[in-house]
Amino acid sequence: MRSFSILRVVAKLLIPYILLFAFYVQFHGDFGPGGGFQAGVIFAAGIVLYGLIFGLRAAQKVISVTLLEVMIPTGVLIYGGTGVICLLAGGNFLDYRVLDHHWGHGLVPHGQHLGIFLVELGVGITVSGVMIAIFYLFAARRQTS
């Protein structure tokens, strides 16, 4: 497909902005519509577009299957780990109020905000990994009939 120059050039032009939009949605879920799930799907769409144009093998060189296998559980672990940290800090599971701290004031959010940020990050990592993995799996199988 990379020999279709129109698609190739337009995809090269747009992929950086699709990926940036995914990050934007990930980090602005607190302010407008969006959040981890949507961001993960948009990120995956950018990679899928790359895979459609330049081939599955090229896409797997960028985001390898091994990396995906790390990403998918890591997201869930970040989510669960946030809850465990809350437990260790003396609160209930996923009770972010105990995440208050006083270092890096103004730069690093704290309390509820920090908890929500970490949790959304976990969701985003898992969802993007899962979506890319499903695309790889479906594409890698040759047509049977």
Partner: protein, 183 residues
């Protein structure tokens, strides 16, 4: 949802129903994939008109980016037309009609659309909104707060569901290496 967008809800719902009927009628699966893309576009519009941008955003991200690609990828492993011709099965039709009419009867008892006295508007939404003001000072989007904080357990469960789905699809779809079977 405001008064000004009220008039557009019914036409959009009509279009959704028409699209769904067309998809059900379609025997060409490729065309059905394309029409389900249209359904997703309309769904996002409808959510938008109902003032639910977070849901619309999810619909948009999945519908515009991924679902057509995955559906076509699925289609590349099967045939492009549905094999069986539709037949009317009378018991099934009766069950569907009875269930549908019971559900429709149930809606008669529901509060009117946008009724401020409806249970959903009295509890628990206002408490969430008030508590968001108090608990989380700098997060204007209440939906994110509700999903990630007040209902953190739910969202953890959902993330685990997605994880499980990935594991299941991997187990089903991976390409098996030729194994040496124990004789």
């Amino acid at each position: 949802m405001t008064e000004s967008t009220q008039f557009i809800v019914i036409p959009l719902l009509g279009l959704l129903a028409a699209t769904a009927l067309t998809v059900a009628r379609m025997r060409d699966l490729w065309a059905a994939v394309m029409l389900s893309g249209i359904y997703s576009f309309l769904g996002a519009c409808w959510m938008m008109v109902l003032d639910a941008p977070d849901v619309a955003f999810t619909e948009a991200a999945v519908g515009a980016g991924i679902s057509t690609v995955l559906m076509l990828a699925t289609l590349s492993h099967t045939s492009r037309t549905a094999k069986s011709r539709p037949r009317i099965s009378w018991p099934a039709l009766i069950v569907v009609i009875v269930t549908g009419s019971v559900l429709a009867y149930g809606t008669l008892d529901m509060p009117h659309y946008g009724d401020p006295d409806a249970p959903i508007h009295r509890f628990p939404s206002p408490t969430y909104i008030e508590k968001t003001e108090h608990d989380v000072h700098d997060m204007p989007n209440v939906v994110t707060v509700v999903l990630a904080s007040y209902r953190g357990y739910d969202t953890l469960g959902e993330t685990t569901v997605i994880f499980t789905a990935a594991v299941a699809v991997t187990l089903l779809m991976r390409i098996r290496r030729p194994e040496v079977t124990a004789s």
